[in-house]
């Protein structure tokens, strides 16, 4: 806009001076912001060169350039080596199942919000909303501590069951390979459900009240109104969030699985993000871990574009 207004001023000598002044000012501003731009360069762009490590045979202590170039060896490894292939397939299975549970559970916040908004007792509704969002603001370590205090051998549940005489020996809920995926999904839902529903709550507040009134006059009961007005009114929001989830199918995050990982559940809990950490940072397989991480990043970016295009095709609107 400013550019459109400025040009006529250029014709006079004074206008020229003004133009130069603004240009200089713009450069001064740029110089002032340089520290932040350098930070962005160092922390976001420079690491991209680290992808080169996946093409060399990197050994700790050597530099990138003194390492031997091996081309796509590390990318081919999950296909050529039986042990690595099984391991990679196991990790992929864990990742996809974990994401699958997440996608299956994705309508829950929507229904949580619809049912909560059906409650007319405002104080109660607000309290539920505030209290159920608390778990979202504690870290996964705290969630682990919470689960530990409830479900460990010395936890609340075992002591309670023993007090009631229902079990003689404590049940080890945590160090088990049974039901790992569903319990991890449960912890995630416990932590995130209330928070995720807030977005739907405000979307519900944005639905035109006249629609409900018109429906009432036509004789619709509350369930019909919920199903035919509220649900369609939230589908747009749901779709956007679903697309973002699809972009994150390979990125389950790592904190949750890192804190809950133990010798018993390791084989089922190790998702791609955790695998990259275990290989690269703990195991010092820098090159292989970088290759796997790079594979993940590229596929994720592809999924993101896929989801965006899907959104364009279905809703006529991109999500980014």
């Amino acid at each position: 806009m400013t550019e459109a207004v400025r040009p006529p001023a250029r014709k006079t000598a004074k206008g020229n001076q003004l133009m130069n002044g603004r240009r200089r000012a713009g450069r001064i501003l740029f110089a002032m912001s340089a520290p932040f731009l350098i930070a962005t360069l160092l922390f976001c762009y420079v690491p991209m060169f680290g992808w080169l490590y996946s093409f060399v045979n990197y050994k700790a202590g050597f530099s990138l350039f003194s390492s031997r170039w091996v081309g796509l060896k590390y990318f081919a490894m999950p296909f050529s080596n039986f042990v690595l292939r099984d391991e990679f397939l196991r990790v992929m299975r864990n990742t996809l199942i974990t994401s699958g549970y997440h996608l299956l559970g994705s309508p829950l916040p929507l229904f949580f919000a619809i049912f909560l908004s059906e409650i007319k007792f405002v104080r109660y509704r607000k309290s539920v909303q505030i209290l159920t969002t608390v778990p979202n603001f504690v870290s996964w370590v705290i969630v682990y501590s919470v689960v530990h205090s409830l479900l460990s051998l010395d936890g609340f549940v075992n002591h309670f069951l023993q007090m009631l005489g229902l079990t003689a020996d404590p049940i080890n809920f945590m160090a088990t390979s049974k039901g790992v995926w569903i319990t991890q999904w449960g912890y995630g839902t416990w932590k995130g459900l209330g928070w995720a529903s807030i977005m739907y709550m405000s979307a519900i507040a944005g639905i035109d009240q006249e629609l409900y009134e018109a429906a009432s006059i036509d004789g619709a009961d509350r369930f019909q109104k919920m199903w035919h007005i509220t649900v369609p009114g939230l589908l747009g929001t749901y779709f956007v969030l679903l697309m973002i989830d699809i972009g994150h199918i390979l990125s389950n995050g790592m904190e949750q699985y890192y804190v809950f990982e133990n010798a018993m559940n390791h084989d089922k809990i190790e998702v791609l993000d955790l695998f990259v950490y275990n290989q690269g940072i703990s195991g010092n397989n820098i090159s292989y871990a970088t290759a796997v991480g790079m594979f993940k990043s590229v596929v994720s970016l592809g999924l993101l574009f896929f989801a965006n295009n899907l959104s364009k095709a279905v809703r006529g609107d991109s999500i980014f």
């Binding site: 806009m1 400013t2 603004r22 240009r23 000012a25 713009g26 450069r27 501003l29 740029f30 002032m32 932040f36 731009l37 930070a39 962005t40 922390f43 976001c44 690491p47 991209m48 060169f49 680290g50 049912f115 909560l116 059906e118 409650i119 109660y124 309290s127 539920v128 505030i130 608390v134 603001f137 504690v138 870290s139 996964w140 370590v141 705290i142 682990y144 501590s145 530990h148 205090s149 409830l150 075992n158 023993q162 007090m163 459900l193 807030i198 977005m199 009134e213 009961d221 509350r222 904190e255 890192y258 950490y277 690269g280 940072i281 820098i286 871990a289 970088t290 991480g293 790079m294 990043s297």
Partner: protein, 301 residues
């Protein structure tokens, strides 16, 4: 809603169902924290026997004094507070100043720089390359690794930019005529007017910093820089080893009262409380900022 309808049986059943569901789920969200709290203030001997269920017994607060006698804990608390304060400060400075710059059309190659920053939201190099970069920069085992990445604020920068563009330009112009430079105008006019958005960003940054855990796992090896979150995780994972340390370390110095002597369990409960109390304390007061935060996110995301 305008019309009062007669309640049918179906309606009443539905009401019962949703009220019971929400009451149960809310209890499920709150009870664990309550249980940890009552366990941390009850007699340690009773906690050890598993005799605490719904209310505290033989209340004492000595656990909260004792845990801070464990050598590593005051240091961890200090690191957690320091990174929260510094990290939040840097986040706000970076987001608001870059947002200010990007709201200025005369900024040198503004579009290019804007894209340069925005692009970072859509890709990341991954854990291992980032680790190698930090190592190259000498940030491994360095407190700065907690706070320096805060200088890079793409999403919050956009929020600030949008907000600042809505501030009337005439306010700045009059200051410009009075001879105030960019920095002066940013400090004296733009920042005070942007308080609502900065408060939202600050609260999220602070909770993020306080809860941050993986960066300690990834980049720290010396105990000097362990945070509360990380220390808690160590204690959760090594409960028995910890109990031994406690017996030799702190208990010997104290009187050997079983009710107040730290056990592995009471330590866990107490450190958990120490770690969540700050979040639980600020949450009710800043709740509306949190909600505002997710709404801005929804509009932009």
């Amino acid at each position: 809603m305008a019309l009062k309808e007669k309640k049918t049986v179906k309606d009443i059943l539905f009401e019962i169902a949703i009220y019971s569901f929400f009451t149960l789920f809310t209890l499920l969200c709150i009870f664990p924290f309550y249980y940890i709290f009552i366990s941390s203030i009850s007699s340690n001997a009773l906690v050890d026997r598993g005799a605490i269920f719904f209310y505290p017994r033989s209340i004492h607060l000595s656990n909260y004094v004792s845990v801070f006698k464990i050598k590593t804990l005051p240091q961890a608390a200090f690191i957690s507070v320091a990174r929260t304060v510094i990290g939040t400060g840097l986040s706000i400075i970076a987001a608001s100043f870059m947002g200010y710059c990007m709201s200025k059309p005369e900024y040198w190659h503004r579009k290019l720089v804007y894209r340069f920053i925005i692009a970072t939201m859509y890709f990341n190099a991954g854990v291992v390359p980032l680790y190698l970069t930090y190592r190259m920069l000498g940030l491994i085992d360095n407190f700065l690794v907690y706070v320096l990445p805060c200088l890079n604020q793409s999403f919050n920068m956009v929020l600030c930019k949008t907000y600042m563009e809505s501030i009337p330009g005439s306010l700045e112009e009059s200051a410009e005529i009075d001879g105030a430079g960019y920095f002066m105008r940013y400090m004296r006019i733009i920042l005070p007017l942007s308080m609502p958005i900065l408060a939202t960003i600050a609260i999220f940054a602070a909770v993020g910093q306080w809860n941050a855990f993986m960066d300690t796992v990834l980049y720290m090896t010396s105990t000097k820089y362990f945070t509360l979150q990380y220390t808690l995780n160590l204690y959760l994972k090594k409960a028995t080893a910890l109990a031994d340390i406690l017996k030799t370390d702190s208990a010997a110095a104290q009187n050997m009262n079983l009710d107040t002597m730290l056990t592995a369990e009471s330590t866990r409960y107490t450190i958990t409380m120490v770690t969540i109390i700050p979040v639980l304390m600020i949450y009710p007061f800043f709740q509306r900022y949190f909600i505002k935060g997710i709404m801005i996110g929804a509009v932009k995301g």
